[in-house]
Assembly symmetry: C2
C-alpha cells in the first residue's frame, strides 16, 4: 500500500466513525428515552474523543509528507486538501481549550434556554461573554495572525471572508428593506384556517419527500421538535414536525430537509466514506435546501399541484383556487422570529446576526450593549420594535453553543440558490409545465448533475461558478424576489 492508500484507509474509518456520531445525534432527537440523557452525554464525549484523537493523529502528518501529489488525479488532490485542512484545524486548537469550549457551551445552552423562558437577557449575558472569550481565543489560534471571524467562517464555509460577505449582504440589505416596506402597505391574503389531521400531514409529507427525489430505501422520515437532515452516503435521515393548524410548516420543513438530504444522497458514490463524500459547505448545502423549498416548492406551478394534493388529502379546506393557494403559501407578514420568516424577509434576519456577531468577535461590540444593538437594528430593518428578548436577542440557540460564523451561510445559501435557479431555468424552459404536474425530476436531476454529485471535489464558490457559468452574486436572488413578490402583492 502506498502512503496515500494508508491515509485513505485511515480516513475511511474516521468518516465511518463520524457517521456513527451523527446517527447518535439523530437518535437523541427522535428515539432516545428522556432518562438516557446523562449517559448519552458521556457516550457523545467518548465518541468525540475518539474522533479528535484521529484528527490530530501524527501519522496523518507523516503520510501527507510521504505522498507524491504529482501522481494523484483531481479527486485525490481534493481528498488531500480536506484531510490537510481538518488535520491542521484540529492540531491548531489546544486540547484543553477545546475541552473547555465543549464544557462551557454545553452548560451555556441550558442557561440560554432558561434566560429565554424568563425573557431575561442579563441572566444569559455573563455566560455569553465567557463563550465569546473562549471562541475568540480559539479564533486566534485558528487565524494565526489573520482575521478571527474569517477563521470561524472557514469552519462552515471554507474560503469565505467577512469582507466579501459584507459586500454581498450590503447590496442585499437596502433592496430587501425597500421591498419589505412596500409590501407592508399592500393588501395581504387571508391566513389558512381549519384543522389538518396530523397523520394525513405525515402521509402527504412522505409523498412530497419522494416527489423531490428523496431515496427512502436509504433514508427515513421521523418527527422531531426541530426538523433536520442527518448523515451522508447510504444513510441520510430527515425529520419534520406537524402542527394541526399549520400543515405548511410540515410540508415545507420536509421539502427543505429533503434538499439537504438529496445533496448528500446525490454525491458521486465513488466518494462514499471519504472527505469528498459530504456536502462541501453549509452555504452550498443551504442552496440545495432553499431551492427545493422556495424556488421550486413555493413556485406558482408547484403550489398548483400541491393544492390538488391537499384537496385529495383533506377535502375542501376553504381555499377557493390555485391562485389564492399560491398567495397564502407565500404570505408575507410581520414577525420577530427568524425561523418563521417568509422568503422575502428571512435574509434581513440573517444579515442582522452577521453584522452583530462579527462586531462581537472583532471586539467592536460588547455583550452588555448587544440587546440594545439588536433592538435598534431590528427597528431599522423591520420597521417595528422588538417586544421582548425571546422575540429578539434570545431567540436563537446558535451563540450559546458557540456557533459564530454559521448564520451568514443561511443567506449565502439563498444567494447561491438564486444563482442556481437562474441557470436552471435557462436550461429547462419547460420547468413550470413539469412542476405543475408534480414532476421535479428535471430540476433535481439538473442540481444533482451540476452541484450534488461533486460532493467536496471543488471549493464552495467554484461549485456554484461551474454550475452557473458565472461568479456568484446576489443579483439573481434580488431579481427573483422582486419579481415574485411585486407580482404577488401587485406592487
Amino acid at each position: 500500500m502506498s502512503a496515500f492508500d494508508d491515509l485513505m484507509a485511515f480516513q475511511r474509518e474516521t468518516e465511518a466513525l463520524g457517521q456513527i456520531a451523527g446517527r447518535l445525534g439523530w437518535d437523541q432527537e427522535t428515539m432516545m428515552p428522556r432518562g438516557a440523557a446523562p449517559q448519552r452525554g458521556e457516550e457523545m464525549a467518548a465518541m468525540e474523543g475518539v474522533l479528535h484523537a484521529r484528527r490530530v493523529d501524527s501519522r496523518i502528518g507523516d503520510w501527507l509528507e510521504m505522498i507524491d501529489e504529482g501522481h494523484l488525479d483531481a479527486a485525490g488532490s481534493a481528498q488531500l486538501r480536506h484531510i490537510r485542512r481538518s488535520h491542521a484545524r484540529a492540531s491548531k486548537v489546544p486540547t484543553a481549550l477545546a475541552a473547555r469550549i465543549a464544557r462551557v457551551t454545553s452548560e451555556a445552552q441550558g442557561i440560554w434556554a432558561e434566560a429565554r423562558a424568563a425573557d431575561d437577557f442579563k441572566a444569559f449575558a455573563p455566560t455569553l461573554s465567557e463563550v465569546i472569550t473562549l471562541k475568540r481565543e480559539e479564533g486566534m489560534a485558528l487565524a494565526a495572525g489573520g482575521d478571527i471571524y474569517d477563521a470561524m467562517l472557514d469552519d462552515y464555509e471554507p474560503g469565505a471572508t467577512g469582507v466579501e460577505l459584507e459586500a454581498m449582504f450590503g447590496a442585499l440589505r437596502p433592496e430587501l428593506t425597500r421591498l419589505r416596506e412596500a409590501f407592508r402597505g399592500a393588501e395581504a391574503p387571508p391566513m389558512l384556517e381549519g384543522k389538518f389531521d396530523e397523520s394525513a400531514q405525515m402521509k402527504l409529507t412522505r409523498q412530497l419527500a419522494k416527489t423531490f427525489g428523496y431515496d427512502m430505501s436509504k433514508g427515513r422520515v421521523d418527527k422531531a421538535v426541530h426538523p433536520f437532515s442527518s448523515g451522508s452516503g447510504l444513510d441520510v435521515r430527515i425529520t419534520t414536525r406537524t402542527n394541526e393548524v399549520d400543515p405548511f410548516n410540515c410540508f415545507y420543513s420536509t421539502i427543505h430537509e429533503v434538499g439537504h438530504a438529496c445533496y448528500e444522497q446525490g454525491i458521486n458514490p465513488a466518494y462514499l466514506l471519504t472527505p469528498l463524500g459530504n456536502g462541501v459547505s453549509m452555504g452550498v448545502h443551504e442552496s440545495q435546501s432553499r431551492i427545493y423549498e422556495n424556488q421550486l416548492g413555493r413556485s406558482r406551478a408547484f403550489t398548483g399541484w400541491l393544492y390538488g394534493q391537499m384537496r385529495d388529502a383533506f377535502g375542501d379546506f376553504g381555499v377557493a383556487d390555485e391562485d389564492m393557494f399560491y398567495r397564502i403559501v407565500n404570505r408575507v407578514s410581520d414577525g420577530f422570529i427568524r425561523t418563521e420568516a417568509d422568503e422575502l424577509q428571512y435574509n434581513l434576519h440573517v444579515l442582522l446576526r452577521f453584522d452583530l456577531e462579527r462586531a462581537l468577535m472583532g471586539g467592536d461590540l460588547q455583550v452588555d450593549d448587544l440587546e440594545t444593538a439588536w433592538n435598534d437594528r431590528f427597528k431599522a430593518d423591520f420597521g417595528f420594535e422588538v417586544d421582548k428578548p425571546s422575540n429578539g436577542v434570545l431567540q436563537d440557540v446558535h451563540w450559546s453553543v458557540g456557533l459564530f460564523g454559521y448564520f451568514p451561510t443561511y443567506s449565502l445559501g439563498n444567494v447561491y440558490a438564486g444563482c442556481l435557479h437562474d441557470a436552471l431555468r435557462g436550461d429547462l424552459p419547460d420547468l413550470d409545465m413539469q412542476l405543475a404536474q408534480g414532476e421535479t425530476e428535471a430540476a433535481t436531476g439538473w442540481l444533482r448533475a451540476n452541484v450534488q454529485t461533486h460532493g467536496g471535489l471543488y471549493a464552495p464558490k467554484e461549485v456554484i461558478t461551474r454550475a452557473t457559468g458565472s461568479t456568484p452574486s446576489e443579483a439573481p436572488l434580488l431579481a427573483y424576489l422582486t419579481s415574485k413578490f411585486s407580482a404577488l402583492y401587485k406592487l
Copy 2:
C-alpha cells in the same frame, strides 16, 4: 489521579463506546433503512476496531501493574477482575485471526440463510467447517493448553466448564424426556383461535412491560423481526413482534425481554459505565428473562390476571375461563423449532446442541456427520423424526456466526431461574395473591435486591448461591416442571 483512577477513566470511555456499538445494533434491527446495510458494515467494523484497540491498549497492563490491590474495596477488586479478563482475552487472540473470524462468520451467516431456505445442509457444511476450524484455533489461543470448549464457554459464562454442565444436563435429560413422553399420551387443550389486532397487542404489551417494572423513561419498546434487549444503564431498549393469530408470542417475548432489560436497569447505579454495570453472564441474564416469562408470567395466578386484560383489550376471544386460558398459555405440543418450544421441552433442544457442539469442538464429531447426529438425537429425545434440515440442523443462526458455548447458557439460565424461583417463593408466601392482581413488584423487587443490583460484582454462580443460600442445582427446576405439567396434564 492514581493508576486505578486512570484505568477506570479509560475504561469508562470504553464502556460508553461499547454502549454506542450496541445501540448501532439496535438501530440496524429497528430503524435502519435497508439500503444503508453496506455502509453500516463499515461503520460497525470501524467501531469494533476502536473497541479492540482499547481492549489491547498496553496502558491497561501498565496500570494493572501499578495498582496496589490491597487498598481496593470489593467493588474495586471486581472491576479489576473484569478488566484483567477482557484485556487478557483480547490480547491472546492474534489480530489477524480475529479479523479472519469476523470476515468468515459475516459471510457464513448469508450462506447459512440460503442453505436453510433451500433445505440443503451440504451447501452450508464447507462454510461451517471453516468456521469451526477458525473457532478451534481461537479456542486454542484462549485455552492456552486447557480445554477448548471451556475457553469458549468462558466468553458467555465465566467460570463454567463443560464437565460441570454435562453433569447438570445429564441429570435433566432423562427426567425431561420422561415428562415429554408422558404428556404425549395426555389430552391437550385447544389452540387459541381468532385474530387479535396488532396495535392492540402492542398497547397491551407496553402495559405488560410496565407491569413487570420496566422503566420506560430509560427504555423503549419497538417491533423487530427477532425480539431482543439491548444496552445497559440508563438506555436499555427492547423489541418484540406481533402476529395477528398469536398474541402470546408478542406478550411473552416482551415479558422475556423485560426480564433481560430489568436486570440491566436494576444494577447499582454506582456501577454505571463500568465493567460491573452489565449483567454478569448470559446464564444469569437468561435466569431473569426466564423467571419473568415462565415462573411468574406463565403462572396460574398471573395468567388469571392476563386473561382479564385480554378480555378488556380484545373482548370475548373464545376462551371460557381462567383455567382454560392457563392451559392454553402452557400448551405443550410437538415441534421441531427451539425458539417455539414450550417451557417443558425447551431444554431438550438446548441439551442436544450442547452435546453436539462440544463434540464438534473436541474433534469427536465431524461436520459431515453432523446432520445424521442431529437427527438421531432428535428422534431419541423427542420421539419423532426431523422432516427437513430447516427444521433440524439448519434452524439456528448461532454456529454460522461462530457462537459456540452460547447455547448451554439458555438451559443454565432455566436452571438458575428454578433455583431463584424456589427461594423467592420461600420469602414471598403471598406471591400468588399479588400476581393474581397483576402485581409483580414483590417478586421483581426480590430479584432486583438479590440478583440484579450486583451487576458484575460476583461470579455468576456466586450470584445465585448468595441469592438462594445454596449451590445451584437442576433439582428445583425439575421439581417445578414436574409439578406444573403433571397438574396441567393430569399425569
